[in-house]
Amino acid sequence: MKKNIPLVITFLTGLVIVVTFFTPHQPMGSMQQRLLIWYSIVLGFTMLLGIDSLLRSNLKKIAGRQPGWIYAAALVAGFLITMAAGLYTWIGTKSLLTLGSSFMFIYTYVIVPLQATMFALLAFFIASAAYRAFRARSMEATLLLITAAVVMLGRVPVGAELWDKLPVMQDWIMEVPQMAAKRGIFIGIALGTVAMSLRVILGLERTYLS
């Protein structure tokens, strides 16, 4: 019974979603949108679960003076300060997005620069990953190196200055072999998604039920 009820719910929900995809008539037409709204509501409540999990695990680390507890303390402090600033701003101005408020100060001068820093690190990681991938250790890696060099040079003005055929070659690589491989993967993913969805709807795939 513990497994059968969720399986029946999954089957019926899956069936409804499939029918709504092909049926614009009400009440089916807007059903998908309505289910998405329900999902957002559930997500809002589960965020509380997430916060509970985050705080409990970090408070445990602090209480037990586990290795790295200082990071846990920084996280809890950051959480509390941001929440306090958010509540203070919301109570004072009835909005979290008020310019010049303490919450927006934290967002603009702490969160956004931290996000930008992480994103900027990507440039260095791309360089190190590219270095490893393009080392000409085998026939395949050498081909990859040559192709990458042509594509990179063909996409910048200096490439055309060096040899006017480079942008043409770059276009051909991107539009023919690259696109063919990409579409092959896409078709595989699409078929895999349909097959996986059918397995879930028909109750063959039950891992998500634990």
Partner: protein, 392 residues
Amino acid sequence: MKKMTAMALLLLACCSLSSALEPPQDIQAADAPNDEGQAINLSWSLPPHPEASPVPLKGFQILRAESPDGEFKEIGFVLAGKSGYSDTGVKTGTAYYYKIKALGLSDSAESQAVGPATATAQWFDTSRANVLVLTIILTFLLIWYIERAKKGDQLYIRKIQGLDAIDEAVGRSTELGKPVLYSFGLGEIRDIVTVASLAILRQVAVRCAQHGTELLVPNWDPIVMAAAQETVQQAYSEPGRPDLYKEGNVTFLTSDQFGYAAGVDGMMLRQKPGAVFFLGYFYAEALLMSETGHSIGAIQIAGTTAITQLPFFIASCDYTLIGEEMLAASCYLKRDPQLLGSLKGEDLVKAFLIWGFALMSLWATLGIILQKNGNPAMINAFNFIRDWFITG
């Protein structure tokens, strides 16, 4: 002199007559197809060369009324050069009449009323008939192969190295006395790839429980976290080690993309896991995390359906599950005949598509050759089939 004045006046009259603003012609008002009865489509003919018209035209005002003699109110405006408008502010089942007014810089010209047009809801979206046909074929093949598998037919499935390496990765972590880290990326529970990833997590958790290895699962989505907690807890009970399960190891981190990447990177640098699994849906954080995993010397297994992130995983991880391999994971790991049967059905559709593409390429090539010789029938048939596949 009088004669000259008369001629000038006649010329002026002719000019003014030829430059009079005309309302649009051939106006059609019809129910919008394949919708829930909330729109009426209007179309009209443009002058043959509107840009060469001597009268500057600003655009067309769309007027609507519920009876031909009623008061027509403006409901929209389109710029000159457009020949259609979709009225989405209608009630299902109500009859409407329309007029189109051409607006010049100083004058205007209104068409006759057209109608009645009524918006009706359709029970079947014909533009998606192609999807329905392919889904029915795929479902039939899946069920057929599942039945064959049930009867005991031996079905061959090729090796997927990334999935075979799970035992090796967990074993290595155990030997080194290090934890295992598992990330779903930024996938939500409604993403089918996340559901597939839960199946792999279960297998990883069973192995961790058998070897007594710690498993860390930082999450970006709280619903995925709840599902992961349930999966890991259940998996630890399978080999009889529920005591090893720690709820704090399957935790929520943050719903911020780069905050999550920073958190996972921090965990990797502090706790130095021996094996790292990146299986789910990833965006720009993929390389940030997998390069950090590489820098600590962890054995890394990645898999995603996010096509833009696959090259990064291939460059920085030991094994990468490409697209559909991810979705086949639960069938591959469980080796359940019914699940394997569904994979075979999927493969058959793929074979059908490959042959279909080859055949259509040949057809199009021959069609173009014949078209040049004055016989367009073959290319027309090709275009019909192609258009049928790309609609919806």
